[in-house]
Symmetry: C2
Subunit: 195 residues, 2 copies
Amino acid sequence: MKKTISPAPLLYPNPVLLVCTYGSDGRPNAMTAAWGGICCSEPPCLSLGIQKNRYTWENITARGEFMVCIPSESLVSETDFFGIASGRHLDKFAETGLTPVPSDVIDAPSIEECPVALACRARNLMHIGSHTLIIGEILQVLADEEVCEADGMPSLATIRPLLYDAHRKMYYAVGEPAGKAFSSGMKFRRTVYEP
Amino acid sequence: MKKTISPAPLLYPNPVLLVCTYGSDGRPNAMTAAWGGICCSEPPCLSLGIQKNRYTWENITARGEFMVCIPSESLVSETDFFGIASGRHLDKFAETGLTPVPSDVIDAPSIEECPVALACRARNLMHIGSHTLIIGEILQVLADEEVCEADGMPSLATIRPLLYDAHRKMYYAVGEPAGKAFSSGMKFRRTVYEP
């Protein structure tokens, strides 16, 4: 039996993303975002929910492109700072010591210290309420060699991204492997043939 | 220095969600989904990316409502099965032994064994490519008493949801707390006054 809680944006877990843009003055900026996820496989797209009063919103709508960097758990303090301060007023890269890197394919910087970066072009906007949904097509994936495994691709275990509990305002690390997909559920395929 | 990887829907982590609906015959169904996330705080909304050939797509577009349940790590095998089999051909609840529960507020069932459920009404659709984005307004949150803390609200630590590495097709558990938001980054607020 479950109890009822007032409607709230409670999803578990939320990702922890650094959305990187250039301002109108050409300075690199990034903001921390937890409202987002993949929304399409082909073309690969992600969605972000951003408030229209954000500096990042201005930058994305002005330039049409943004980089989504995935910080590892070792960057938790820097990542948190990118969610506290606004790039309108200060240079968050200078404050934290993180390094903006220009992109070959889009008009937005990546962050050297983040193990993975997704170069995105905004292709749709949808105003919802407090937040506007931005669909970004992923044009390129960048990854540190150190987080790539034998097949040349990164993994959740090597990236060690952060997770976010938005109600408790707490970051968590990734834990142990819990099972293989399209595998651990096969034991229930017992009574019916499934093509 | 980063290497370039072909564009792909690589985000870390993805959530692991069970999207519950009723079919045209009134039977409860659920499918596992990892393409999704919160997209708006007020009204609280989440987005899901679903393929139009899915049984769940038919059900959501026919009834306009769906329940997003969050399975805990102990349900990894059942959750995986809900992503392997299609409800067109069998009753996944009967196969796994999980229990569908009617909702007071929407025309879609929750799952008794999942600690948290979000009752959603579809309010927008956007065709993107292989997947269609569905925006669901969260009308009600249901939570087991056992995962609620002193303030009556659940937490990532008590829910123990799964995480998903889509490229590796691996589930992971939640790890240790990694930091407090709006707190661990304050140490960088050293040189500039931030209102």
